[in-house]
């Protein structure tokens, strides 16, 4: 039996051929090393993300999450739900909190769930993968598996919003969370201090208000460069995509020369644990990361 087992909630973006499929590849490699067994929640559905609010209303949002809770709890009893996407984690956690807080909302949720043949009996815990690494393993344990330390590489840990606020990782400071920097350092890399670590990239408004969001992204990338980072690292698929894929647009508009790779913590860990560039999904970068590819086994 694997050392740790969780009910896995990949989210829409981490499916095959979707925008964060490289995240999924690296998470699978990382979990193999750590002996983590992730079992996908059967027939899980989208959480609706933060941006669904305008159309959805309250109860429909909560029942979408509640369906996943019921499916997890029925099929994978006793396992915590683990999400890799910050928005999925936040949305699910929020729904859990609200439903637990109000007997009226719980009753309505159960009534709606009945239509899909489901009920919630025990409310499962909802965790982000980064939380699992920090809390269930700890940096010391994570460090024991390092075979190929990321020596000499400089990373800007971009925590962004939704793994950090409003819930965050226990014991962290909202204005300057350290867990991502500590993961980087545990893997043998250097985490450069810079002032845009928790700046919002614009989130889903990168689609609807591209100019404003790209101005946010410009500030983030610029600050990473100014402080000597060679790569940016994130815990969130939307942060990753936003900060990576618009650099070309920003260059055209602002006459900058941005071309900085944006990676997931799990990709760094896969390489540091001795995995190949392919195991880490490095072929999935729109801006390739040659320095990381060069040291990969």
């Amino acid at each position: 039996m694997a050392k740790k087992q969780y009910a896995f909630y990949p989210g829409c973006s981490s499916q095959k051929g979707a925008s964060a499929s490289n995240y999924l590849t690296s998470v699978e490699s990382m979990c193999k090393t750590l002996d983590i067994q992730l079992t996908e929640i059967p027939d899980w559905n989208c959480c609706g993300a933060s941006i669904g609010y305008g159309e959805a209303g309250e109860l429909p949002r909560h029942v979408m999450n509640a369906r996943n809770f019921a499916l997890a709890e029925t099929n994978l009893p006793g396992q915590d739900i683990v999400a890799t996407c910050a928005a999925c984690w936040l949305g699910a956690k929020e729904s859990k909190e609200r439903i637990e807080h109000s007997s009226l909302l719980l009753a309505d949720t159960q009534e709606a769930l009945k239509e899909a043949g489901l009920q919630i009996k025990v409310m499962p815990e909802i965790r982000h993968m980064a939380e699992v690494l920090v809390e269930d393993f700890g940096f010391e344990e994570l460090g024991k598996h390092v075979k190929n330390p990321l020596k000499g590489l400089k990373f800007a840990g971009y925590v962004g919003c939704q793994t950090n606020r409003p819930f965050g990782i226990a014991g962290e400071n909202f204005e300057n969370p350290m867990y991502l920097d500590k993961i980087i350092e545990t893997m043998g890399g250097e985490a450069v201090p810079y002032d845009q670590k928790v700046t919002c990239c614009g989130g889903a408004l990168a689609f609807s208000e591209p100019e404003k969001a790209q101005a946010q992204i410009k500030d983030i990338v610029e600050s990473a460069y100014d402080n000597g980072a060679e790569m940016i690292v994130t815990p969130c698929p939307l942060c990753q995509a936003n900060v990576e894929i618009y650099q070309g647009h920003i260059n055209n508009k602002y006459n900058t020369k941005f071309n900085i790779p944006v990676l997931y913590y799990s990709q760094l860990m896969t390489i540091a644990y001795g995995g190949s560039a392919k195991d880490a999904g490095l072929n999935g970068q729109v801006i390739r990361a040659p320095k990381l590819e060069a040291i990969a086994k």
Binding site: A49, G52, P60, E111, A116, C200, L205
Partner: protein, 213 residues
């Protein structure tokens, strides 16, 4: 009478009461002490888009400025960054109140027409619930080829599509956008159950709101 006129008539003299009853987390508005911390917490480059920042919106609700609040594009500027929530000395769930107000204005049909985030939110939610999972390809096609009212606009689509072409090609090359999604792509098995569940949820929510009104 439109839904909007009905509500305005029901709550004649108290927009605050209306917000408390009908808007998600609206009951918190009266707790605001007007310190202004939230308004300074929104992402910097979005500031010019906020006609009325959150603190001002709360003041306007109390002052009964119903029309100005509900038709404002301001709430649609919220990026869900949660900066305000963790800083507010009165612990107001500001993010959710902004979402709640936007959703209420949208439901009443008075939110600004053509507001791009309003259009995107609708597109996103409908895309997600159609099969239970987001189809990223259809989502981007919908985004670039439809105008804010959801009508297909080829001219606009081509212009925006061209601007986004490099981004899409980059994703395709990296195998992060799948052209076959157009034929269906990722979906849930129990779509029927999901649709029935959501229908029930909408009914229940409307019932609860109607009782309060």
């Amino acid at each position: 009478m439109s839904a909007n006129q009905q509500m305005a008539a029901k709550y004649k003299n108290s927009f605050l009461k209306e917000v408390e009853d009908q808007v998600e987390m609206g009951e918190w508005v009266k707790m605001c002490m007007q310190c202004g911390v939230c308004s300074g917490s929104c992402p910097t480059n979005f500031h010019p888009g906020w006609e009325h920042p959150p603190q001002e919106i709360f003041m306007m609700i109390r002052a009964g400025k119903r029309e100005e609040v509900l038709t404002s594009p301001s709430m649609w500027m919220c990026t869900s960054c949660y900066n305000c929530i963790v800083r507010c000395p009165r612990k107001l769930p500001i993010t959710h109140i902004m979402h709640g107000l936007a959703n209420y204005a949208h439901r009443l049909g008075v939110a600004p027409k053509g507001q791009p985030t309003r259009a995107f939110s609708k597109l996103f939610w409908n895309n997600a619930i159609a099969t239970g999972r987001v189809n990223e390809l259809k989502l981007s096609i919908g985004l670039y080829f439809k105008d804010a009212e959801g009508k297909i606009n080829i001219g606009q689509g081509i212009k925006q599509g061209l601007a986004m072409q490099k981004v899409a090609l980059g994703l395709l090359k990296a195998k992060r956008l799948n052209p076959f999604e157009i034929f269906g792509g990722h979906k849930c098995k129990d779509q029927k159950g999901i649709h029935a569940m959501l229908k029930k949820a909408r009914e229940l929510e409307e019932k609860r709101k109607a009782i309060k009104a």
